[in-house]
């Protein structure tokens, strides 16, 4: 069937800011959909207020809106753009929920928009577990025994019938949010009450516990002509009880017989038909009883999902791209598979490898939040690896997850601890299991299987690995004395068929199972370099296979690779034409989508300049791992060993390390020593900037102020230096990532408390003790340098108080109310640092301004997380500029720094092209209900939202809304103001009162306000007793918080208020400028205007 011609323009709704359960997979799917539909000649309009995304890059869609995903804004955009159709299946649950809201508000009908993909009714069925169950029963399939509960008493009646444990899930939530297991009656009652409150429709599904059952997922594609195929089957290594997003998974299904699998396949397709998903990709989840084989249907998502992104990368079948084409009535046999270029999309993918996904948890950030996993997703990212065997894929995926393991490794814990870890849904359970198998042998497979629910197949594979590792260890023990002599001999002759270091057959088998050189070295007590040298000597290198969707039946034309050992090597090298771009690996707090966007945009820019790009990344959610983005795609771990093998394979030496965050940067030295030419800033200078001691000297040399700082090689020194510098102090280890392990101490007691949280202080890993600049304002500056001239992309002012991690602070571009002299000083500093460090490419600097003094807080010689946001706001694609610099086009040639544009000698500056752009941080605290994550110098946010507007107020109001809370247009404002802010704050509070807000305040503030003619209700501070401000927040009696920092003694009070405000989605401001912004925002809202402007088209 040809594409629909009754529609010309299509609106795609994005998924908004990244939260746990909804990450960059929707940038990937949205981006594919936009491209596929534009290729078919449709005008594509996109709405997504997430500035970090690739899809919102100007030029990629015909019109891009970054307004809040709410009914009024969508109404306005539909009014303005008059699209013929709406595609709601690309933006996750957010887009589906918004589409239902639009339908209920009559907006869809009003604008006569057709809903493509999943009709409203099918979305309702799939989301409403009760209705879904009815549909399942209607086609003769089984669901878990369950009941749809809206009262606690009904819940108790149900439990009396089916027994405990049961699972409780609120209806209509993201990624299983709020789903939990109740083991006792008391737990049940508590959890049910909570679930009823969580659910927007105040209903919950209570169902029999399938804990320990095997869990499977099928990715199904269906077209409007009722043809259907299963693109990928996935088996969860962690069975039922752990959210699939938190499970280790393997594709394809490993342990089902063909009969069982075909039964599931047929059921999945029938479910799509019954639910009424017209076309597109859907994910169907099943559970089977490990002994009886009873199969039940768990759920289905009538849209592309995290699993479909995973399935796309695991099979090479571009689900979202295909789904977009099916949405405009193409049929599966009309859509050609891009990988083979010769098979049609109804040719079901066949894999000749296994693909293993490992979740990445933030154990360091939320240590208490991970004691046990459950039915609510808690991981923030994932890595995918492909290998010819399960073990090779598993080892690579773990290495790629960057969680401090080289692959599967045994843990140095006593047996009892290992058993107890294996018995729990612990995030490191697989390691505990492996340790037990390695220590106690494979006779324990049955026992472990019963305990963990791991299938015996996977345990047997682990036992095989344990045997192999024992063999390696034994060889190492036998040959340990020979290590030195083998090194000394160093001739090819020393190797031969047997080697003093390690028998070659053993090395060959180890590499075939994906064991890294580092791990082998550790097992035999050698240096990784020894293993690498031996492999080079023996020409034992990785070979690469195509991911071709067809197990080799047809020649693939799209070079999407994974590594293997001792097999055929496919694909010819690119040679020096190639440039290797190192991605950023799995998402984590502090390193996520922003970096992937930089990598993707750089590949596009390089290709425009006729370079061939080689992308290396292990994160299956991303756009960068879309095989269309680069000339070559390697789904491989971002470790030096793996990258070196890729360099060798491709014969390419240029490596870009500035765009993949800290992961890529950390490899620079090792790659350079292996012959890589690191693109841009020289490695030595990167090192200077990264090493705080060296950096301090550089700053001193060029005369820039830094907060007082000292390096402490021991705990005692930390305390002594803190006393010398003076409290409060900021504490951090030498190498940092997104603020990990940083802390502020106001007192020696707090300092000791911080050090006791497992912080190492040694000669090798000293702790940095910095003066903490209280009441300062912070700024972020992103710049590009060609080595001489400097282009400052923009300076962003943090709206929140200093001391909160830059990634967690709202910021505004251009800076709001600022001292021009300070801005000039920052630009001067940027130029001086760029020139002193010899930066070629990106430079990010964080400043603090305190009492007219500009301090340099931190310098990152790489693209920062604000680059995509700044690019969109300023209308200058900074990544493209960087790539051009690297290809020899200096800033002058690019017309960015010219005598006309210079603001300082050799320095030019970008300007906000959209009026005002506010970036607001977005948190996922609701995933960790039992912990109090205090905001501070450790980054905690998972994503960001943008607000764009003609006024600061409009931008602020939109950013607040897109981040998940709404500024109030009436109600009660809580005010607590620091003495020094009182005069500036007074007119703001007065205006709020005049706008009709009730004012409540702390006693001191209330007195001050009263003296100035403003009446307010007095509320207690947290430490003053009950009911205090937090109680009122919890009771929903406060609609806006204005709380400017009150000094060191109340820092914790402030944090507590902020956390509660975040939990209850109450807007919260900590500075006078933020309060003013909120006031402006409120005034904008009260005017009742709903304005939506697309991003300016690229020049």
């Amino acid at each position: 069937m040809p594409a629909r011609r009754d529609i010309e323009s299509i609106l795609i709704i994005g998924s908004g800011p990244i939260v746990i359960g909804q990450a960059c997979e929707f940038d990937y799917s949205g981006n594919q959909a936009v491209r596929a539909l534009r290729e078919e000649g449709y005008r594509v309009i996109l709405v997504n207020p997430n500035p970090a995304t690739v899809m919102t890059t100007p030029g990629l869609a015909d019109a891009i809106y970054m307004d809040p995903l709410t009914v009024p804004y969508l109404d306005r955009i539909l009014e303005r753009e008059k699209p013929d159709a709406l595609l709601p299946t690309m933006g996750g649950q957010t887009a589906l929920n918004l589409t239902i809201d639009l339908a209920e508000a009559g907006v869809i009908e009003k604008h006569g928009v057709k809903v493509l993909g999943a009709p409203i009714e099918s979305i309702r069925i799939a989301e409403d577990r009760g209705k879904f169950k009815e549909v399942i029963a209607g086609i003769g399939l089984e669901s878990p025994h369950s009941a749809f509960i809206s009262k606690v008493s009904e819940g108790h009646a149900f439990v009396s019938e089916v027994g405990l444990p049961v699972i409780i899930r609120p209806s209509y939530t993201l990624g299983g949010k709020g789903g939990s297991i109740a083991e006792t009656r008391d737990e049940f009652e508590e959890l049910l009450k909570w679930a009823l409150a969580e659910s927007p429709v105040h209903t919950a599904l209570v169902e029999e516990s399938l804990l320990g059952w095997k869990e499977f997922e099928l990715e199904v594609m269906r077209d409007t002509f009722d043809n259907a195929v299963v693109v990928c089957s996935i088996e969860n290594i962690d069975g039922m009880g752990i959210h699939t997003g938190d499970s280790i998974t393997v594709a394809p299904i490993q342990t089902l017989s063909d009969r069982e699998y075909q039964e599931m396949r047929t059921a999945a397709i029938e479910i799509l038909r019954a639910v009424g998903v017209d076309c597109g990709g859907s994910n169907v989840q099943f559970a089977t009883h490990p002994e009886t084989g009873r199969m039940v249907v768990i759920e289905m998502n009538p849209r592309v999902s995290r699993s479909s992104a995973l399935a796309s990368k695991a099979t090479g079948f571009p689900i979202a791209r295909c789904a977009a084409r099916l949405a405009v009535d193409f049929t599966l046999d009309e859509v050609i598979n891009d990988i083979t270029g010769q098979t049609v999309s109804c040719f079901e993918p066949s894999l000749d490898y296994t693909a293993v996904k490992i979740p990445r948890f933030e154990l360091e950030k939320f240590p208490q939040g991970y004691a046990s996993l459950g039915t609510a997703m808690k991981s923030v990212g994932e890595s995918l690896a492909i290998g010819r065997t399960y073990l090779s894929a598993l080892n690579k995926a773990i290495r790629a997850a960057e969680i401090g393991f080289e692959g599967i490794e045994d843990l140095d814990l006593d047996e009892e601890e290992l058993w107890s870890m294996a018995a729990k849904l612990h995030p490191r359970r697989i390691f505990a299991t492996y340790s037990l198998l390695k220590r106690l042998g494979r006779e324990n497979i049955d026992r472990i299987s019963r305990l963990t629910g791991y299938d015996r197949w996977g345990l047997h594979e682990l036992a095989e690995l344990a045997d192999l590792e024992h063999e390696i260890e034994a060889a190492g023990a036998g040959g340990s004395r020979a290590v030195g002599s083998a090194r000394a001999a160093g001739t090819p002759g020393a190797a031969g068929t047997g080697n003093a270091l390690l028998p070659l057959d053993l090395l060959f088998r180890a590499k075939r199972q994906g064991i890294s050189d580092r791990r082998i070295a550790k097992l035999i007590g050698a240096e990784p370099r020894d293993i690498e040298d031996l492999r080079i000597e023996q020409r034992m290198h990785a070979c690469y296979h195509f991911v071709d969707t067809c197990s080799g039946e047809f020649a693939a034309r799209t070079p999407y690779f994974y590594s293997a050992y001792g097999e055929i090597d496919e694909g010819a090298p690119l040679g020096e034409r190639g440039v290797i771009i190192l991605g950023s690996g799995p998402n984590r707090i502090g390193q996520g989508l922003e970096f992937d966007t930089c990598c993707t945009l750089s590949s596009m820019a390089y290709r425009d300049l006729d370079r061939a790009t080689v992308m290396v990344n292990s994160n299956p959610e991303t756009v960068s791992t879309d095989f269309n983005v680069s000339d070559r795609l390697y789904l491989e771990p971002l470790s030096a060993e793996d990258v070196k093998e890729i360099m060798r394979k491709e014969g390419a030496r240029d490596v870009v390390v500035q765009l993949g965050g800290q992961t890529a940067l950390n490899m620079a030295e090792e790659l350079e020593s292996a012959g890589a030419r690191i693109v841009g800033t020289p490695v030595k200078r990167i090192h200077d900037a990264e090493d705080r001691g060296l950096f301090y000297n550089v700053m001193r040399r060029i005369g820039l102020d830094q907060p007082q700082s000292a390096m402490a090689p021991s705990r005692a020194e930390v305390e002594r230096l803190a006393g010398e510098i003076g409290y409060p102090v900021l504490l951090r280890p030498s190498y940092v990532l997104g603020g990990r392990s940083m802390g502020i101490a106001y007192t020696p007691e707090e300092l000791r408390e911080f050090l006791e949280r497992g912080i190492e202080a040694s000669e090798a890993r000293p702790v940095l003790v910095d003066q903490f600049l209280e009441d300062a304002f912070e700024y972020d500056l992103d710049a590009l340098s060609d080595g001489e001239n400097v282009y400052v992309g923009g300076i962003m002012q943090h709206i929140e108080a200093a001391g909160i991690h830059s990634g967690d602070s709202a910021c505004v571009f251009p800076p709001y109310k600022v001292d021009r002299t300070a801005l000039t000083k920052m630009k001067e500093a940027a130029a001086a640092i760029a020139r002193e460090l010899g930066v070629v490419g990106f430079l990010n600097i964080q400043f603090a301004v305190q009492g007219g003094t500009v301090y340099v807080l931190e310098v990152n010689p790489r693209a920062s997380r604000t680059v995509p946001y700044l690019s969109k706001s300023s209308g200058v694609n900074l990544v493209e500029v960087a790539v051009k610099i690297w290809q020899g086009f200096d800033l002058n040639m690019q017309g960015l720094v010219t005598p006309e544009t210079e603001v300082l000698p050799g320095v030019a500056e970008g300007h906000c092209a959209v009026g005002w752009a506010v970036k607001e941080a977005v948190f996922s605290f609701d995933r960790f209900p039992n912990i109090d994550p205090l905001l501070g110098p450790e980054m905690r946010s998972t994503g960001e939202a943008i607000g764009i507007g003609g006024t600061f107020g409009e931008a602020f109001a939109k950013a607040t809304s897109s981040a998940g809370s709404e500024l109030p247009t009436g109600g009660r404002v809580f005010v607590s103001i620091h003495d020094s802010d009182k005069e500036t704050m007074l007119p703001i509070v007065r205006e709020l009162a005049e706008l009709g807000f009730e004012i409540t305040a702390t006693r001191g503030t209330a007195d001050f306000l009263f003296r100035n003619g403003i009446f307010s209700e007095v509320m207690l501070k947290v430490h003053e007793g009950h009911p205090n401000v937090v109680d009122h927040l919890e009771a929903g009696r406060i609609d806006l918080v204005i709380n400017t920092p009150l000094g060191r003694f109340t820092q914790r009070d402030d944090d507590y208020i902020r956390i509660q405000a975040l939990r209850h989605r109450v807007p919260y401001t900590t500075t006078t400028s933020a309060a003013e912004a909120a006031l402006e925002g409120i005034k904008y809202l009260k005017r009742g205007e709903v304005s939506a402007e697309p991003l300016p088209a690229p020049s």
């Binding site: 002509f225 009722d226 043809n227 195929v229 089957s233 394809p252 299904i253 490993q254 342990t255 089902l256 017989s257 063909d258 009969r259 699998y261 075909q262 396949r265 047929t266 397709i269 049929t331 599966l332 046999d333 010769q342 098979t343 049609v344 109804c346 040719f347 079901e348 993918p349 066949s350 894999l351 000749d352 490898y353 296994t354 010819r388 065997t389 399960y390 494979r442 497979i445 049955d446 015996r456 197949w457 345990l459 047997h460 594979e461 036992a463 068929t497 057959d505 060959f508 034992m540 296979h545 067809c550 197990s551 080799g552 039946e553 047809f554 293997a564 001792g566 097999e567 055929i568 496919e570």
Partner: protein, 401 residues
């Protein structure tokens, strides 16, 4: 761990580790001597599950099958899944493939009532080889076409990671001499080695009565027919058509089977006679025999279709469904006579997947509507055939009265 090699007639060698029945030793290889196991045409199958069904599918007789999916054996084996047809006097769960080539054999524990794959193959006298670069082998077969091969115990001093250097020239040339004399699949008549040797009646009380010409029928074809209520008389493919018709069946099914259809002159003639009198369904080899019977030609494909993911389009309705396939020969479209309608086509390569006669109630499918292994999307073909049989017998009885 015994090293072994898969040698191909074109000189390529794929090293691995032996399992199942022991491989040939060099001295076992006598040029010109045919071997039911250990040597055969090497083909690849892209199904990710269903290895037991593949092993027991009689159509694979004379073929060494390499599974492209690496992990095989994970869920064990059981006679319940056997596809071997009703052959009296033979071991029912008989493994039909001549050899099994894998990347990674599972040797761990399997569920209750199931038997580990290596044990099953050993008991069935079938050699296997694992740890093979099956990807390399598959690409080789794809590019060069299917070729004869033999699994041989590795010579002394053999090292898996450098096979070329460690196989003595004399060893290699003796293996090559054996393979050079090994019969090619084109022109090979293998139906004599499979299928029932005497008439077998299944579900004798059932109706309609279907006569099945057994060229190596898969068990699930019989199960699908019986499941729809039919009485099935399974006849040896060498049976007299007169004997078959003499029992007054309502319809005929011509089964799948191994080898080259063009050389099955006797069966082609039988099919001509049977389908001129009874509604007929042909499956796989049966489809090719029907095509030959109407005067069309078959040809040897480069490497055939062996997998469970091939899309087939119904040329009338435009619907597409995913099918289980296992064939190395296909019907030439240009050779089809006028009374033949192309019913189904491969949505991928356009090859013929099914035909219907415009003047007779005859239909045939190149793929396996009975699945096993593979998707069940095409089971409606049996429904459609039963419908055809019912309406044909209704019209016959109407004419009769």
């Amino acid at each position: 761990m015994q090293s072994a090699c898969l040698f191909l007639a074109d000189g390529s060698v794929f090293p691995g580790i032996s399992f199942g029945a022991p491989p040939f030793r060099l001295d076992d290889l006598v040029p010109g001597e045919e071997r039911p196991k250990g040597a055969g045409e090497v083909v690849f199958n892209t199904a990710m599950s269903g290895y037991h069904e593949v092993l027991t599918d009689p159509s694979y007789t004379g073929q060494i099958v390499t599974m492209t999916y690496p992990h095989i054996g994970n869920y064990g084996t059981t006679n319940e899944w056997s596809e071997t047809g009703p052959e009296p006097g033979t071991d029912r769960p008989g493994v039909k493939v001549a050899g099994f080539v894998l990347r990674s054999l599972y040797e761990g524990p399997v569920g209750p009532g199931r038997r580990p794959l290596p044990e099953f193959l050993a008991a069935q006298g079938t050699p296997g080889i694992t740890d093979v670069d099956t990807r390399g082998l598959t690409l080789h077969l794809r590019d060069e076409g299917s070729v004869s091969g033999v699994i041989v115990e590795a010579p002394e001093g053999f090292e898996r990671w450098r096979p070329q250097e460690t196989i003595p020239e004399e060893f290699r040339s003796r293996v090559m001499a054996f393979l050079a004399a090994f019969p090619e699949m084109e022109g090979r008549n293998l139906v004599g080695e499979v299928g029932t040797t005497a008439e077998e009646v299944i579900n004798p009380e059932g109706s309609p009565h279907i006569a099945l010409l057994d060229c190596g029928v898969k068990g699930n074809i019989v199960r699908e027919l019986v499941g729809r209520g039919a009485k099935v008389s399974v006849w040896p493919s060498a049976a007299e058509p007169g004997d078959i018709l003499g029992e007054g069946p309502d319809a005929v099914v011509v089964s799948n089977g191994p080898g080259d259809p063009a050389v099955l002159g006797y069966q082609i003639e039988s099919v001509q006679r049977l389908m001129s009198e009874k509604p007929t369904l042909g499956i796989c080899l049966g489809h090719q025999l029907i095509s030959e019977a109407v005067g069309a030609k078959t040809y040897k494909m480069k490497f055939g279709h062996h997998g469970v993911n091939h899309p087939v389009r119904d040329e009338q309705s435009g619907h597409v469904f995913v099918t289980s396939q296992n064939h190395g020969f296909a019907v030439e479209e240009a050779s089809l006579p006028e009374n033949v309608t192309v019913w189904l086509k491969n949505a991928n390569d356009g090859s013929i997947e099914g035909i219907k006669l415009s003047d007779r109630p005859v239909m045939s499918a190149q793929f396996h509507p009975e699945a096993a292994p593979g998707p069940r999307d095409a089971r409606w073909i049996f429904d459609e055939f039963m419908e055809l049989v019912r309406s044909a017998s209704a019209s016959t009885s109407a004419t009769g009265s």
